[in-house]
């Protein structure tokens, strides 16, 4: 027969059991492990080739023309934009070729342009000769052969590296696509209308047809508007706050307010002109 004392002791028993559970461990989140729970092999050695290409080729020779809203063929080669607009992006002159096809330098339009073998247009840099030295061309080939890695090593932070249009920039009328470039790959499952928003001057949301990560460009997010943007002021925001903030593939939440800590939102104000962009 169960007595009141038994019932009291039973409840105490469950309290003790709960306390014992609290002392027990939890399941691991599997970070850094393979499917068998063993540590992943160490990352390949850092590849800084792209930074060297940026510093010694693009910034040194190309950004005089290839920058801003009116960059030739829409190709901006300033730091923060160049990678997103080169790797796995179709050439505007020869759409059948990628500007940079990772692992395949011969099929990369960038190589053809700097070697002067492209079927269309002039050899780059357009102000040559002199053109790029052989060792600089070899650097580009080597980088593409290695898979066109973006940076030296995975970053432990996530920040917005650049946007198209850039902050405070005036874009041409008819703009229908916004591009946000991050310093490292983003977690595509967190890329949605909650983490990316576009508002007009009246602070009303602008309808978006898609918020997406382009194929093979995990550090880029594109926002496609339902209608081309009309003339006016807009603000693009990327959210590092909220219940499901944007984070990198490695799980680092966006440092949106650039305070060195995860969290905060990034705001990119820009204008759209009725006429040509300036």
């Amino acid at each position: 027969m169960t007595t009141p004392l038994d019932k009291l002791l039973a409840w105490k028993g469950f309290l003790v059991f709960s306390s014992m559970l609290a002392l027990a461990g939890c399941a691991g989140d599997g970070a850094g492990l393979d499917a068998n729970g063993r540590p992943l092999p160490p990352a390949p050695p850092p590849n800084n080739d792209f930074q060297e290409i940026q510093d010694t080729i693009f910034t040194a020779r190309c950004v005089g023309c290839h920058s801003g809203a009116n960059a030739p063929q829409g190709l901006r080669l300033d730091p923060g934009n160049s990678y997103a607009l080169l790797v796995n992006v179709a050439s505007a002159e020869v759409p059948g070729l990628l500007r940079v096809s990772p692992g395949n330098p011969n099929a990369s339009y960038l190589v053809q342009k700097i070697e002067g073998t492209a079927a269309v247009g002039v050899r780059m840099p357009a102000d040559g000769p002199p053109y790029l030295s052989l060792d600089r061309i070899d650097l580009v080939r080597r980088w593409i052969s290695a898979g066109a890695p973006i940076a030296s090593a995975p970053s432990d932070t996530l920040v917005v590296a650049s946007t198209i249009p850039a902050a405070a920039e005036t874009a041409a009328a008819g703009l229908g696509k916004l591009t946000v470039v991050f310093n490292t790959n983003v977690d595509s499952s967190l890329v949605n209308a909650n983490t990316f928003a576009l508002r007009d001057a009246a602070d009303q949301p602008v309808a978006l047809a898609a918020v997406r990560v382009p194929t093979a460009r995990q550090n880029v997010v594109e926002l496609i508007t339902v209608l081309p943007l009309s003339a006016g002021s807009y603000q693009l925001s990327v959210h590092g706050d909220g219940p499901a903030p944007l984070a990198s593939e490695a799980g680092h939440v966006l440092d949106g307010d650039a305070d060195g800590k995860p969290g905060g939102d990034t705001f990119i104000p820009f204008d759209v002109n009725a006429g040509a962009a300036r």
Partner: protein, 364 residues
């Protein structure tokens, strides 16, 4: 014959009135009743064939209702010098693995028979535990047990389960997988046991090959000692296995106590195994179990287990949470139903499976 009937009645009365509670062959029952394993099993370390007391206990206290006449009380003794017993478990189980189609099936989990030849009553026995299903017939235990001092000191030699921690019915429990010492992996050797007062102690020397042929000179030593109080118990275990592939050392702490109708069990084990991989591994596992005797014949079992497969690797831990309801409507029949929730690293689907099962368990 009259003396046997008198003994049966006396045993039943003891089971009924001295130990009011449910009974079945699991450690929580021993903790619930404040009994040693040897009270209900011929094997002093628990599991397998039941004693006359264990059989009487199962018929009078374990079931919600006993059917049949008093004269039909089963003792396991079919002849003066021979006792028999058995276990059979038939399962229907459902398994859901993420990203895979779920499966469900009927299966015989086990069908086993026990024979105990008590050639010198209370002194010398030859014991056999044979599994007939699933698969081919397999011998799990075959040993000679001799009580040097009646009911206090024994020596056992042959094939036997090794004494380490709790002898759980669930061989898939993390603590049993970690130690590698369970009822699927008997070993061959010799065991000395001491059953004095509230203490139960065993020391075993065996090949350390889990029943496979010995391939080196190294041996395994397993020791287990437990203090058994009326409402609580505490024990320690240790194992050391010297093999050419690498040494293996383990230690464990286990205990339990009763709080009213709830019985709590806990075990934590640590293994340092140099035979795994190039650098060896340090592993840990723990078990917390709560058994709530809702009323006679009804038990709700909640279990939470944790496994650390490699102490040098972070975020690889696994857990298993089980909710099992056990109903014994009549003697020697048990219906069990439950859910087991596995939680592990997200990149391994099997470590995140969910299992549900219904089991019909018959035993004698």
């Amino acid at each position: 014959m009259m003396r046997l009937k008198k003994f049966i009645r006396l045993t039943s009365a003891v089971a009924l009135f001295a130990f009011a509670g449910a009974a079945q062959a699991e450690p929580y029952l021993a903790a619930q009743m404040g009994l040693k394993c040897v009270q209900c099993h011929v094997n002093p370390t628990g599991g397998g064939m039941r004693t006359v007391f264990g059989n009487a206990f199962a018929q009078t206290q374990m079931a919600a209702k006993r059917i049949g006449s008093e004269e039909d009380l089963w003792t396991g003794q079919v002849m003066k010098f021979l006792s028999v017993g058995g276990n059979a478990r038939a399962n229907y189980s459902f398994t859901d693995v993420p990203n895979q189609s779920s499966t469900n099936d009927f299966a015989v989990e086990e069908a086993r028979a026990y024979l105990d030849f008590g050639v010198i009553p209370n002194r010398l026995s030859v014991y056999i535990d044979q599994r007939f299903a699933p698969g081919n017939s397999t011998n799990l235990e075959a040993n000679i047990r001799y009580w040097i001092s009646e009911n206090s000191v024994y020596v056992k030699a042959g094939r036997m389960y090794q004494p380490f921690g709790y002898r759980l019915e669930d061989d898939n429990a993390f603590v049993r997988q970690l130690s590698g010492i369970n009822m699927q992996a008997p070993d061959e050797g010799v065991e000395i046991g001491f059953e004095k007062g509230s203490w139960s102690t065993q020391v075993a020397l065996s090949n350390g090959t889990s029943g496979a042929p010995e391939i080196d000179d190294g041996k395994q030593i397993v020791a287990r000692t437990e203090y058994v109080g009326s409402a609580w118990r505490l024990g320690v275990s240790a194992v050391s296995n010297d093999t050419d592939a690498g040494d293996r050392f383990g230690a464990g702490l286990f205990g339990g106590f009763r709080l009213g109708t709830v019985t709590l069990l806990g075990e934590i084990d640590y293994i340092d195994d140099d035979s795994i991989g190039a650098e060896g591994r340090k592993l840990m596992a723990s078990l917390v179990e709560a058994d709530w005797k809702m009323r006679q014949g009804h038990n709700l079992k909640l279990t939470y287990e944790w496994l650390e497969p490699d102490d040098d690797v972070d975020e690889d831990e696994q857990t298993r949470t089980s909710f099992v309801y056990e109903w014994s409507p009549i003697q020697f029949i048990q219906l069990r139903g439950g859910v087991r929730l596995y939680d592990g690293i997200p990149q391994n689907d099997l470590q995140n499976r969910t299992q549900a099962f219904l089991q019909l368990h018959g035993f004698f």
